[in-house]
Symmetry: C2
Subunit: 112 residues, 2 copies
DNA sequence: CGTGCATATGCATATACGTGCATACGACGG
DNA sequence: CCGTCGTATGCACGTATATGCATATGCACG
């Protein structure tokens, strides 16, 4: 895995933004209301998140609608799998197989 | 989840240390050889990792043997589960159930 | 076109943090 | 005891980075 993914998420404000976006796509101003910092800051964080692959933008009139992208989360999930043996022992194989199936399926389905 | 976990991992040197420790317990000097910074820095990082719950120490003569602890990884894994729906859709429930079973097995969790 | 709303960017600042150096602390062997 | 090896800590420094303010850019509508 790559530390950049972690560094991107490690900032409290960006983390919050990501969590809000988990609830669905949002315009910049909607995010500003939830994060307690100035709008310029939010825009800059969104830039960073975009460059790191966490979010994508869709213009809607004068607004810009941001939403999450799966890749970095997937990467993180794949990485942490290597550490599952720390708390599993017996279920390890089972989990790995599940993981394999998920990756194999690769069904794309957008959200509820 | 809590950002501290991410912040702790977000430093390249600490990340490296964690990855090395995935291979098993190590004394401080063993780690120093692998991370390209001064020994004092490594000790400092180990302190941070300890306080964040990532590692534990075991004295061995004059040496100190560090090893990984599962909790923060578990926490991270639990958090990322919320985002699995970004790339899965149907297997989500299955994964959750597996997760539940894992948690049920090891019900032991409190610390300093 | 000009006005207003939504978002991005340049500049300046403060603060946090990783790092090295020197040194202190602790354990063990002679 | 005394010295040495292994590790932790105080101090000083440089740098990265998050933030606010002011302003630029972009888009819609009258």
């Amino acid at each position: 895995m790559h530390v950049d993914v972690l560094q991107t998420l490690a900032d409290p404000t960006r983390f919050r933004i990501v969590e809000v976006l988990r609830g669905g796509e949002r315009a910049v101003n909607d995010l500003v209301e939830q994060v307690a910092i100035h709008q310029s800051g939010v825009s800059r964080h969104l830039r960073i998140l975009t460059e790191a692959g966490f979010v994508q933008v869709r213009p809607d009139g004068p607004k810009r609608i941001y939403s999450l992208r799966p890749e970095p989360f997937r990467e993180l999930d794949a990485w942490i799998t290597q550490y599952r043996r720390l708390w599993e022992a017996r279920l390890d194989r089972f989990a790995e197989e599940l993981d394999r199936r998920q990756h194999a399926r690769k069904r794309k389905e957008t959200e509820p």
